[in-house]
Structure formats: C-alpha cells, structure tokens
C-alpha cells in the first residue's frame, strides 16, 4: 500500500502554480494563452494577476508574434498552449519571430506526448522536442515532476533568451522532493547509480526508468538512471561518463524516437564515445485515444515496458 503515499501532480499544474508563485519576484512576467488557460493551468496565474494575463484567443501564430513584441518592450512573456500548437502550428513563428532575433520569450507547452490520452493523435504531440531542438539558441526542457517543473520555470525566468518547456497533462509521481535537490539549465543528474546499463530518461519517463531499474536489479542487472531535463543544451559530460562506465545506453522519452532525447544522446555519443544505444519512445507512429496509463503501457513506456526492452537489449 506504499503507493498510496506517493504524491502525484501533473506538471502543467506545477507550471500554473510556479507562474503565480514567481509573479511578485518577476514583475515583468506576463502570461499569454490561446483560449486554453483552464487546461494549461495558466488560469491559476490569471486568477491572481488578471491584468498580467493576455488571452490571445485561438490564434497561436499571432500569439507568438505578440510575445516577441512584448519582450522587446521589457516584458518576460510566458506563452502557453498545447505542445501541438505551440511547437507544431506556430513552429515558423517561433523560429523566425522569437528564435532568429533571440528574444527573451518563454514557451510553456502543456499536453505533450501520448499522456494527453483520450483526445487522441491530433492532440498528442510527439514531435515538439525535435522541432524546438533545431532552432539555434533555443533551450529545450522537459521536467520529470512537480519539483523539477517549478525549478525549470524559475530557471527560465532567470535566463535571458528563448526557452521551451514541455509539460504533461497527466498526474505523475513527485520524485525529486529530496534534500539538496538543485536545478541548473543544461545539467542532468544521476538519480540511480549502476554499472551494467545506462537508462537516460526525460520527463515522465524518469519515473518509468527508476521503476525498470528496480525490476532489473531483481534480475541481477545494475542499471544507472540518468535524468535529463534540459535536452538542449545537453549535459554531454554526464552521458559520456555513464556510457563509459556501463557500455550500453537506453533512452526513454514520451516523444518520437526521431529527433528527441534519443537522437540528442546518439549525436553526443557518436561523436565522443561510440556506444550501442537503444531508443525507446514513439517508434515513428501516431498515438491514439485511450487513458494515459493504457497508452503508456501499450507503447512500452511504463516501468514494465522499459524493463522488458532493457532486458532484451542486454
């Protein structure tokens, strides 16, 4: 019954709470949304600071441009929408109006990945990390839980330049509420030490990786788990060092295996320490409707699925 003690919070909720909590400290923070404030949870900020919340209506392309303009007047805009629309529909606006002039705009993209659930494939964005990684100068983060999500929002506000943060819809266990937890853009962390295989995970998959490591341990396999919140710039050192130690790497992400964390890790290792890598994630397929838990299980991204894949890989 230990499970009942685990606190679960959706990182979109953490996002809304963080915006509200940081509003006094960052008086230039303004929040933009595209008719999804109730879902992205910027409604939490809006309730406390209505005059600093700008609803742009269902028009994400314009919203990105408005954010760019606001940043040029000294505001720090946090632009919110679902990942599909923030990174997908408005990709070119993000690239040309925010990325190219390197403006101080933050993008809070919620409802990323398949855990959007029942809405199905049209709303399940498995491409946002890949798209955002390709924009020069863009910081890309994918927090694992409530603690990391809040820390990422703060770090984004303290950082000068464009930042994309990916948040999820489904409630996920809090795993980083430990004394001494520190967050820094571009720094990963070894959340479990091991010697036989490295599992590099991001977002909600960090929890799955930890669960898989536990199961692997029972089979006598010692798995190291590296948690990567900042996919760009990537903490290359932590990945190279772990790969040197274990000689085998598995990546896990709630995203396409094309262009996401797995690709970033492969880019890093192929140039620095060629290592056999297995990429877990969406295997070049669209998602579908279903509960978040059922989807994560079907696509092999829960602890059991990761465990089985790592086992096969050994």
């Amino acid at each position: 019954m230990a499970d009942q003690k685990i606190v679960k919070i959706a990182t979109r909720e953490s996002y809304g709470n963080a915006l509200k909590e940081l509003a006094e400290e960052f008086p230039d923070l303004v929040v933009l949304d595209a008719d999804l404030a109730a879902a992205t949870k910027t409604s939490i900020f809006r309730k406390a600071y209505p005059e600093r919340h700008i609803d742009c209506g269902i028009a994400e392309s314009n919203m990105m441009g408005v954010a760019a303009g606001l940043s040029l007047t000294g505001k720090i805009p946090f632009v919110s929408s679902f990942a599909m629309f923030a990174a997908g529909r408005a990709f070119e606006q993000v690239r040309n109006s925010i990325g190219y002039p390197h403006l101080n705009v933050k993008i809070g993209a919620t409802h990323a990945g398949i855990t959007v659930g029942e809405d199905g494939a049209t709303h399940q964005c498995n491409e946002d990390i890949a798209l955002m990684r390709t924009i020069p100068g863009m910081v890309v983060m994918c927090p694992a839980d409530d603690v990391e999500a809040k820390a990422a929002v703060r770090a984004a506000l303290e950082y000068e330049g464009p930042v994309f943060i990916r948040f999820g819809r489904a409630a996920v266990p809090v795993i980083n509420d430990k004394p001494g937890y520190k967050f820094e853009i571009g720094k990963g962390s070894v959340v479990r030490e091991g010697s036989d295989v490295t599992i590099v995970a991001t977002g909600i998959c960090v929890d799955s990786a930890l669960g898989a490591a536990e199961k692997l341990a029972a089979d006598g396999i010692s798995a190291e788990v590296v948690s990567i919140c900042t996919i760009k710039p990537l903490d290359e050192e932590i990945i190279i060092n772990s790969a040197k130690k274990t000689g085998k790497v598995v990546t896990v992400e709630e995203h396409s295996v094309i262009g996401g964390l797995g690709s970033a890790v492969c880019d890093c290792l192929s140039a620095n320490h060629p290592t056999l890598v297995k990429k877990l994630g969406m295997q070049d397929v669209f998602g579908e409707s279903g509960s978040a838990a059922a989807l994560v299980q079907k696509y092999g991204l829960d602890a059991e699925g990761v465990y089985k894949s790592v086992k096969e890989f050994m």
């Binding site: 392309s61 408005v66 606001l70 040029l72 040309n96 109006s97 002039p101």
Partner: protein
C-alpha cells in the same frame, strides 16, 4: 519638414534602393520604391527616433512586416544617419550586417522580419507592451497588399482591434502587384479598407506619393483614440524608375549595369528638377 525637402530625401532613398539592389545583384526594388516616400516620411518627419541613439527607450517603433523591402528601409535608415550610405552596396553580401531581410541587430531596425504576416503580430505586441508599461511611444508597421493574404495578418488585426491598440498604426502598401500577378487576380484581398474596418480599425485611404496626404493621414492616426488605425496607401510599384513602374517583373529582380544606368539617370533627372524647384 517641407515637402520639397522630403521629396529630395525620398529621391536619395530611391537612389540608395536601386544602388543596393544593383550591387547585390538580387533583392526587391519594386515594393521598396513604392514605399520609399513612406519610409522617408516616417524617418524624416513622423517618428520620434534618434540616429545617434537607435535604441533609446521612448522611441517610436517600426516593424517592416513586408521584410523583403529591406532595401527601402535600409536606404531610409542610412540616409537618416543610422549607418553610412556607402554600406548599402554591401547588401546581401557575405559578412555584411545588411542581411537580405531586416535583422534586429542592424542599427535602427526594431524587429527581424521577412516571413510574411509575422511583423504585424510583433508590432501589436510592442503596442500592447507600451500600453501595459504606461509608455507613450507609437508603433508603426508596413504590410504589403499581397502579404495580407496571410491568415496571421487577420489574427493580429483581430487582436489589435479587440485590444483597442490606438498606439498602433498599420500601413498597407497597395501597389496592386504581387509575384504571380495583380493581387485581384491571384487571390484578391479587396476591399482592403472594409476588411480592416470590420476588424475594428479606423481606416484612412491615402495617396502614397503625396506628402500632404501622408501627413494628414498620420496626424489623423495619431488623433484617433480607442482603436488602431490602418492607412491603406495607394501606390505605384517601382515608383521613380521609368521601366520599373507598375511592372511585376521588378518585384524581386536586380537591374543589370545598363538598366542601373537608366534607373539612376531617371532619378538624377528627378533630383535636378527638385533642385530647380527649390531655387524657383
């Protein structure tokens, strides 16, 4: 500034456009020339700007939403003293700061632009930021009449109208020509004025090549409160260069050496007439 002085500056701006595009062997002279009087009016009379202090906080802002007319903007900025006029010949060349489309790092350029439909959104954001910050500066943005076929323009117009951004002035350069033909034969955006009215703008139609008309239009825009203004500026593409006038061919093509000589002779002739008018 009197109209004759503005006309002389505008003629210099046009020479800069033709020279820059000829030197680059690429670029967009047609729309740059149709907007040359507007660029001149904005930078020599209308806008609160300082070439010595291009980033001063209370300056008026300008976003060239139709970014391909960078030669026009650059020539106006150079002639106004933001950077040397001689640098115009480096346009589009490797290592030059004068990129093919406006880049925010160029002195006097307030926003990178070039992908059509995006500049108006940034301008709306700047206007909203000014209002939120209690600042009195105004924001101007220039769109092409072909550009307004982009859906984002109307997202931005809806936003600006709804937010009552009366510190925003949208200008549409209505020269009636886009790459594939006359705009009313490609995918007509007409009636332009009625559309902006429907999006809650105050709309003014004006002659793009008459400084009295431009002055009156911008004054009316400044005095209009409670809604943004759109000035639909009726212009002649290629204005000032005989063989480029009202010609689609010169939307995005550079003159060769012979054509450049003819173009400059046209403009020298206009310049001489203006000098004469000044002496009279």
């Amino acid at each position: 500034m009197n109209n004759l002085e503005l006309q002389k500056h505008a003629n210099d701006v046009r020479k800069g456009i033709v020279t820059a595009v000829h030197s680059a062997k690429a670029g967009h002279p047609g729309g740059s020339l149709s907007s040359a009087d507007l660029f001149t009016f904005l930078y020599f009379e209308e806008m609160n700007i300082d070439p010595q202090n291009p980033d001063k906080e209370d300056r008026d802002r300008f976003v060239l939403s139709k970014g391909h007319n960078a030669p026009g903007l650059y020539s106006a900025l150079a002639n106004r003293g933001f950077f040397p006029v001689e640098d115009l010949t480096t346009l589009r060349k490797l290592g030059s700061y004068l990129q093919g489309h406006p880049c925010i790092h160029i002195p006097g350029v307030d926003m990178s632009s070039g992908s059509l439909g995006q500049g108006i959104s940034a301008a709306a954001g700047m206007a909203l930021g000014a209002k939120m910050g209690g600042k009195s500066y105004r924001v101007y943005t220039l769109l092409g009449d072909g550009e307004i076929e982009e859906g984002q323009v109307w997202e931005a117009a809806m936003f600006a109208g709804f937010r009552k951004l009366d510190n925003l002035c949208v200008i549409v350069d209505n020269n009636n020509l886009q790459i594939d033909g006359p705009i009313d034969q490609v995918c007509s955006p007409y009636p332009i004025d009625k559309k902006f009215e429907a999006f809650n703008f105050h709309v003014i139609n004006a002659d793009a090549h008459d400084f009295d008309a431009l002055r009156a239009a911008f004054q009316e825009a400044r005095e209009t409160k409670g809604c943004p203004t759109c000035i639909v500026m009726h212009s002649l593409k290629g204005k000032g260069v005989s063989f480029m006038e009202n010609s689609i061919d010169w939307h995005g093509k550079a003159p060769n050496d012979e054509e450049y000589a003819v173009a400059m002779a046209d403009l020298e002739k206009i310049g001489a007439e203006l000098e004469k008018a000044g002496e009279a």
